[in-house]
Amino acid sequence: MTNAPLLQVRNLRVEFGRRTAVHDVNFDLFAAEAVGLVGESGAGKSTVARALLRLLSPEQGSVELGGVDLLKCPPAEMRAQRRDLQIVFQDPLASLNPRMTVGDAIAEPLVIFEPQLTAAARRGKVAAMLERVGLTADMASRYPHEFSGGQCQRIGIARAVVLKPNLLVCDEAVSSLDVSIQGQIINLLLDLQQEMGMAILFISHNLAVVRHLSHRVLVMYLGKLVEVASCEALFAAPVHPYTRALLAAVPRIPPVADAPAPLPDRTLAADSITHGCAFRDRCPYALPLCESSDPPLLEITAGRWVACHRSHETLNPLSYAE
């Protein structure tokens, strides 16, 4: 991995009316790495994805891709940058224009960014792309509704990678697919990633999937990053109480004999989240300090960032009662 990050996100803040969906998020992405972004609904993961692609306008912050701040550059420049930054959405069928053939959908980025290609050359690339994602070239003339969910997702991926972008954002890309199909799509993404040297930002609420796919993991809670770690480290020894609760809540096969009690509901009003730790109402380890002071995201060991006042304690697991 190179040292200079491919993507640098700083101080990202997105508000919807009075609700702050993303608070002051900072992270880097490096070339050719797969990063998982996990969290539950309301965490702001999809909002981050859309902010990165400037599909919405953040209140503040910068997203630098190769030195260009995507949030501040003029629209024409942004469109040019989109060549390197693509996205695959959650609902495979909804992300395809129902009145456009699949071939036209995949060809569209070529039409926009490589206008010098002849129609025949485009068709050739579309056919190659369809084959690459596990479909057949003759499907180019069909319409999205003729395909299954998994096939539609392959088409969405084909469209997203036809220009070989540097970064591919997958926003819950496998969440609506059957379990037996998920593996196929994930393997496809892994293969494409290695072939094209793409970075992938894989957003999911499914921790087990993220575990197998990512080099690094970012955990979000209510709009803030609460933990960043290498995949191995996070799943072997999660530090932030939310990450631990999240991992504990996933049902195992075969079932664990003494599953811990489920995390209680949120009781904080939305506007109380802005001061103090957003997780304090559900955290079994909360201190009065957590009410008054929002813990900053600090690097506690190399490559491991945690936003918790008690993070230093978890390095010695015995100080926590399980």
Partner: protein, 319 residues
């Protein structure tokens, strides 16, 4: 002992422009009192249609044949009046999307009390206080205030709990839960699973848990049914099925579920191909195209569900 739910040779099909679509074919199962049966399947497995048939909730275009008996009484073809005595009181169902199941313009209290007024003959006042107690037991804080709220004022997790409360009000003998946690976050899912466990413990009701999530089923089920392309392909006690599945589909499905505890894999295990679209003509075993053990016989002859009552499998070459 009379089974709580006894389904025999159930077929559900729908008219389609190219013929008939079979959603469920030849399904037979029994749910004993107090038992929790998990029903696992992917798209096109027919698991939801099977239980919609039991509740009489299929659309008018559906053609149903076979027998569905609840506590010995035949439900298929029963008059609406007979069905309505049982549905909502002793045989209840909760669905994946609570927002779609709660009437948006009626207050929660009204919707809950209505169940008791209609089925148990309570007065509205008694109904409301029973509703408040039930909301408490499903751990909705501030129950009395919630009674006068509308569904849109509640979060997804809370609506699911309201739906659960509604289904438990008349102490049902069987609760059918169709993907009750699929739309919920994993922490909320854990809460709902805990509530289902507690409700079973308290009232001893039977539970039919339908899900594509094997983890959820593993946590709650005594027995697991696996469905594929409209048929039941395996039926076994949960620990047995999870440890030593006999049907190749079950085995492959278990392998495909990414785990948090095993070793990290460089590639995800996959099952090639995709589940058959409803309506694809299936003469042979529906799983044969994807089965690593398929032989010539599988492509010609459909295996029947056979074996001991607690360990059935529909396969010519079970594991």
């Amino acid at each position: 002992m009379v089974a709580t739910l006894s389904i025999d040779d159930l077929n559900v099909s729908f008219a389609h422009r190219t013929g008939r679509l079979e959603a469920v074919a030849g399904a037979s199962l029994r749910i004993e009192p107090q038992e929790c049966v998990g029903v696992v399947g992917e798209s096109g497995s027919g698991k939801t249609q099977l239980f919609l048939a039991a509740m009489g909730l299929l659309t008018r275009q559906a053609q149903v044949s076979g027998s569905i008996r609840f506590a010995g009484n035949e439900l298929l073809g029963a008059k609406a009046a007979v069905l309505n005595r049982v549905r909502g009181s002793k045989l209840t169902m909760i669905f994946q999307d609570p927002m779609a199941s709660l009437t948006p313009h009626l207050r929660i209290g009204t919707q809950l009390a209505e169940v008791l007024v209609y089925h148990s003959g309570l007065s509205w006042k008694e109904g409301r206080s029973a509703a408040a107690r039930m909301l408490d037991s499903v751990r909705i804080p501030d129950a009395t205030r919630r009674l006068s709220q509308y569904p849109y004022e509640l979060s997804g997790g809370m609506r699911q709990r309201v739906m659960l409360a509604m289904s438990l009000l008349c102490k049902p003998d069987l609760l059918i839960a169709d993907e009750p946690t699929t739309a919920l976050d994993v922490t909320l899912q854990a809460q709902i699973m805990e509530l289902l466990r507690a409700a079973r413990g308290e009232t001893g009701m039977a539970l039919a848990l339908i899900s594509h999530d094997l983890g959820v089923i593993a946590a709650l089920a005594d027995r697991i049914l696996v469905m594929y392309a409209g048929r039941i392909v395996e039926n076994a006690a949960a620990p047995e099925l999870l440890r030593r599945p006999r049907h190749p589909y079950t085995a492959e499905l278990l392998k495909c579920v990414p785990s948090l505890s095993g070793p990290r894999l460089a590639r995800m295990p996959t099952l090639a191909g995709q589940p058959p679209q409803p309506g694809e003509a299936l003469q042979a075993c529906a799983f044969a195209p994807r089965c690593p053990r398929a032989a010539a016989r599988c492509r010609v002859e459909r295996p029947a569900l056979g074996g001991a009552p607690m360990s059935q499998v529909a396969c010519h070459f079970p594991l």
